[in-house]
Symmetry: C2
Subunit: 414 residues, 2 copies
DNA sequence: ATATTTTTTTCGAGGCTCGAAAAAAAGCCT
DNA sequence: AGGCTTTTTTTCGAGCCTCGAAAAAAATAT
C-alpha cells in the first residue's frame, strides 16, 4: 500500500510543483516559483528550462507594472496554450454540452444540444454523447490531435474512481461507464465526474481566497446536491462520489422524496418539493419537473406576500438548515456557496435556514457561517470539468513516456 | 502551501517507510520490506543498517517455521523496545489513567485513579493530570529519561491540531490546552486527542483486515461519540476533532439532549436517553448519569419482556439507524464497530437500527453493513493513544538533530 | 559610462537510489 | 563430508537530483 519514494519520483514531483505553481499564479517568475515551492533557484531554473523546451511552458513578458523596479526584470512563465487541449462533456437534464479547452484554460470550441434525457433509451443516450464528442474530433477547423483528456460531468452519482455514472435523476438508465466508453471510442483518457463536485472544483479556482481549504457547494435545483472540499481536497464517498447531502434524513418517515424514500432534505428543499408545498399538494404528491421560469415566478409570488409560497420556502430553509446543522456536527462549520435556480431565491430561504442552524451543533458559530449565491450552475460545472481535466494532464506530463505534442519525452534534448 | 521535495526529504521519507513497515509487520526481513515498500534491496539494506546502529531497530531471529526453507535464512527486524518510550494519559468520567509504553508497544508501567471530574475546579483537574504524569517521571524503578511523547485522550471535543480540549461532558471546564500544559511541564511533545478517534486508531491496529481504509467506530455510552476513518486516514473536522455523530439531528425540535439542544441522536440513544425512556420520564427529563451496572440490568429487563425498556432500546436503534443513514448518504456505507457499555445491548438495538437504515440512502447496501461490538472502551482508547504517540515518534526520528537515546544523530557513525 | 540591483544560469559538491555482482549462510545431494 | 544450489544481504560504481555559491544577464540609478 504505502510505497517508498524512488529517486526519479523526485523530479516528477517537483516538475508537478512548478506546473501547478504556474497554473495557480498566472505568470509567476522563476524567483516567485522558488519562493512558493521552497525549492532552490537552480532547481527551478533547470526544471523550467526543461518544461519550456518540451513546449509545456512559455516565457512571456511579465506585467509591465513591475518593470518600474530596477534590476534584471522578471520573466513571467505561462502555460503554453498549444501544449495540449482537453475536452469537457456536461450532461444534465435535457441538455448536453461539450467544449474544447486549450492547455491554458481558454475555451476554443463548443457545442450545446437539447435532448430528452428522461425518455431516451440507453444506447441513444450513450450515442448522443459519443457523437457530440466525435464532431469535435472531426472538425476540420480545429486541431484536436492534441486532446489529452476528456472530463465528463453528470448530475447524479458516480463511482469513486470516476469511471461510471451509477445513478442519475435525469435518466432511468443506471451504471453507464461513460469514462470507459469514451476512452474506448477515442483513445483518450477520460473521467466521469459528479456535477456538484465539479462546482466545488470550479469555485476553488474562481475564488481561491474564499474557497480554499474548507467549503461547501450546494446545488439548489430540481434535486439537492453537494460538493465538499475539506482540507483542500475534494471529498468523495468510499464507493461513490458521495456527499449526498440531499438524501440525509430531515424527518424520519416524512415527505416523499424523488429517490422513493421519505424525509430526505431534498423532499423539502428540492424544486419539486417547494412547488408542491407552495401549491398545497401535500407531501406525498408525486415529484414533478418544474421549469426554471416557473420557479422564478414562484419566488416572485413568495416575495409579494406571506402565503403558502413563502411558507414553502420556509420549509425548504428549515430542511436545509437542519441538514447543514447535522453536516456541521461532522465537519465543523464552513463557508457555503448556494448554486442553482433556487439560490436566486435564497433571500426567502435564509431566515428559516439560519433559525434551524441555530438549533443545531452548527449554531455556536452561526454568525461565522457565510453564504454566497450563484444562480447558474452549468458554467461552474463546465469550468470544474475543465480544471479537473487540465490538472490531470499537468500530472500526467511527468509520467515518463507520455508524449506531449511538439515536445520531448522528459529527457533533456539539448 | 504545497512545497517541493528536497533531496534530503527522500531519505527521511524512506526511513519512515521502513520503520512503519516494521511496526506494521512485526518482524519482517529486509527482503520483505523491500517488497512492501517497492524500494531496492540496497536501499533497504543501507537504511536498516543505519537504523540498527542508531538503536531504533534490532535484528532478531525470525519465526523458526521459516527456517525449513533452504538458502540464507531471513533475519527479522524488530523495533528496539529500548529506543524510547511514550506515555498515554486517558481522562474520562471520574477516571484518570496513565501508562508508559516502550517503543515496541508494550506497557511497562501504569496507574489508575478515581476522581470527581464533574465537580473539580479547573486547577485541580489540571493538577491531577500533571501529578499522575509526574509520578511516572519520578518513579525510581522506571527509566523514563527516554519518554519521547505524551498522548492524552479525553472524552469530548478537541481541536484539529490536537492541542486542547475544547469541551467535554465530564467537566464544566472548557478550553484547557492540555497538550501545551504537559509540554511546558515536562518538556516532552504532547498531543490532546479525542477518545473516539483513538478508538478508531486502535481498531485499525488491532484488526487491520476488517478495519483498514474505511470504517466507523461508535461509542455507545453516556453520550454518543464517533471515530471515523476514511481512505485510511482519521477524519477530523476543520476546526475540532469533528465527527460529532451524536449531535446530528434525528428529530428537529425533539428530545432534550445533554448538549442543551433538541433532537440530537444522542438524545435518543445515549445511556441517559435510554434510561429516561425506559423509566417513562418523558423526553424533556434532565439527563442523568447512569452507572454501567444500571445499564446492564436495564438491558436484562428489556430482554426479559417487551415493556418500556425494550421500547427505549428500539428508539435508540431508530435514532442510530437514521443517523447512520444520513452519514452513509455522505460517505457511503462502511463497517461499524459499536463500542461501550450499550454495545453489549446491541442485540436490543440492532433490529430497529437496521429497519431505520433500510429507509435511508444506506438502505441499498444494508446487508453489506457489518456491525461488531466491543463493550469496553477504555483499553481501546489507551491503545489508540499509545499507537498515535508511537507513530508520531516514528516520524520524528527522521527529523535531523533529534537525539535518540543511545543512538546517533542520523549520520553514519561507522 | 559606470555602479547598483535583481533575476537567472552555470558549475561543482554531496547525497540518494539503483542494478549488478559479490558475499554470506543456510539446506541439498552424492 | 564436501561441493552445489538457493536465498538473503551487502558492497560498489553509475546516474540523477538538489543545493549553494559564484557568475552572467539585464534592467535602473547616478
Amino acid at each position: 500500500m504505502s510505497v517508498g519514494i524512488r529517486h526519479d519520483d523526485l523530479r516528477r514531483r517537483n516538475r508537478a510543483m512548478v506546473i501547478s505553481a504556474v497554473r495557480r499564479a498566472g505568470q509567476p517568475s522563476r524567483t516567485e516559483i522558488a519562493a512558493t515551492t521552497g525549492l532552490s533557484h537552480s532547481t527551478i531554473s533547470a526544471i523550467s528550462s526543461d518544461l519550456i523546451q518540451e513546449g509545456i511552458l512559455t516565457e512571456s513578458k511579465p506585467n509591465e507594472a513591475v518593470s518600474l523596479k530596477r534590476g534584471r526584470p522578471q520573466v513571467g512563465l505561462a502555460l503554453n496554450p498549444e501544449a495540449t487541449a482537453v475536452m469537457t462533456v456536461v450532461l444534465s437534464l435535457n441538455f448536453l454540452s461539450v467544449a474544447v479547452i486549450d492547455y491554458a484554460g481558454q475555451v476554443i470550441a463548443e457545442e450545446q444540444r437539447r435532448l430528452d434525457t428522461a425518455i431516451m433509451p440507453r444506447d441513444e443516450l450513450i450515442g448522443e454523447c459519443v457523437a457530440i464528442v466525435r464532431r469535435r474530433f472531426e472538425d476540420p477547423d480545429l486541431d484536436v490531435r492534441g486532446v489529452a483528456r476528456i472530463a465528463m460531468g453528470i448530475q447524479g452519482i458516480t463511482d469513486t474512481h470516476a469511471r461510471a455514472m451509477l445513478w442519475s435523476p435525469i435518466t432511468p438508465q443506471t451504471d453507464i461507464a461513460f469514462a470507459d466508453i469514451l476512452e474506448a471510442e477515442f483513445g483518450v483518457p477520460a473521467t466521469m465526474e459528479n456535477d456538484c463536485n465539479m462546482m466545488a472544483v470550479a469555485l476553488q479556482w474562481r475564488d481561491p481566497e474564499r474557497y480554499r481549504d474548507d467549503f461547501i457547494a450546494i446545488l439548489l435545483s430540481h434535486g439537492i446536491g453537494m460538493g465538499l472540499v475539506l482540507k483542500g481536497e475534494l471529498f468523495t464517498g468510499t464507493h461513490s462520489s458521495g456527499g449526498e447531502f440531499g438524501h440525509m434524513i430531515h424527518r424520519p418517515g416524512g415527505a416523499l422524496c424523488r429517490c422513493g424514500r421519505r424525509g430526505c432534505v431534498e423532499a423539502y428543499a428540492g424544486n419539486y418539493a417547494i412547488w408542491r408545498n407552495a401549491k398545497q399538494m401535500g407531501e406525498d404528491a408525486e415529484p414533478v419537473d418544474v421549469s426554471d421560469a416557473d420557479m422564478r415566478s414562484l419566488a416572485a409570488r413568495a416575495r409579494a406576500g406571506d402565503g403558502p409560497e413563502r411558507q414553502a420556502y420556509r420549509k425548504a430553509g428549515e430542511a436545509l438548515g437542519f441538514g447543514l446543522g447535522s453536516l456541521f456536527a461532522l465537519i465543523d462549520p464552513a463557508p457555503v456557496a448556494m448554486v442553482g435556480v433556487s439560490a436566486a431565491a435564497f433571500d426567502l430561504i435564509e431566515p428559516a435556514l439560519r433559525e434551524a442552524i441555530a438549533q443545531t451543533a452548527g449554531g455556536q458559530h452561526s454568525k461565522s457561517i457565510s453564504f454566497d449565491t450563484e444562480p447558474n450552475e452549468l458554467p461552474l460545472i463546465r469550468e470544474g470539468c475543465a480544471m479537473r481535466a487540465l490538472t490531470f494532464v499537468d500530472q500526467e506530463i511527468f509520467a515518463p513516456g507520455v508524449q506531449v505534442k511538439g515536445g520531448a519525452t522528459g529527457k533533456n534534448v539539448a
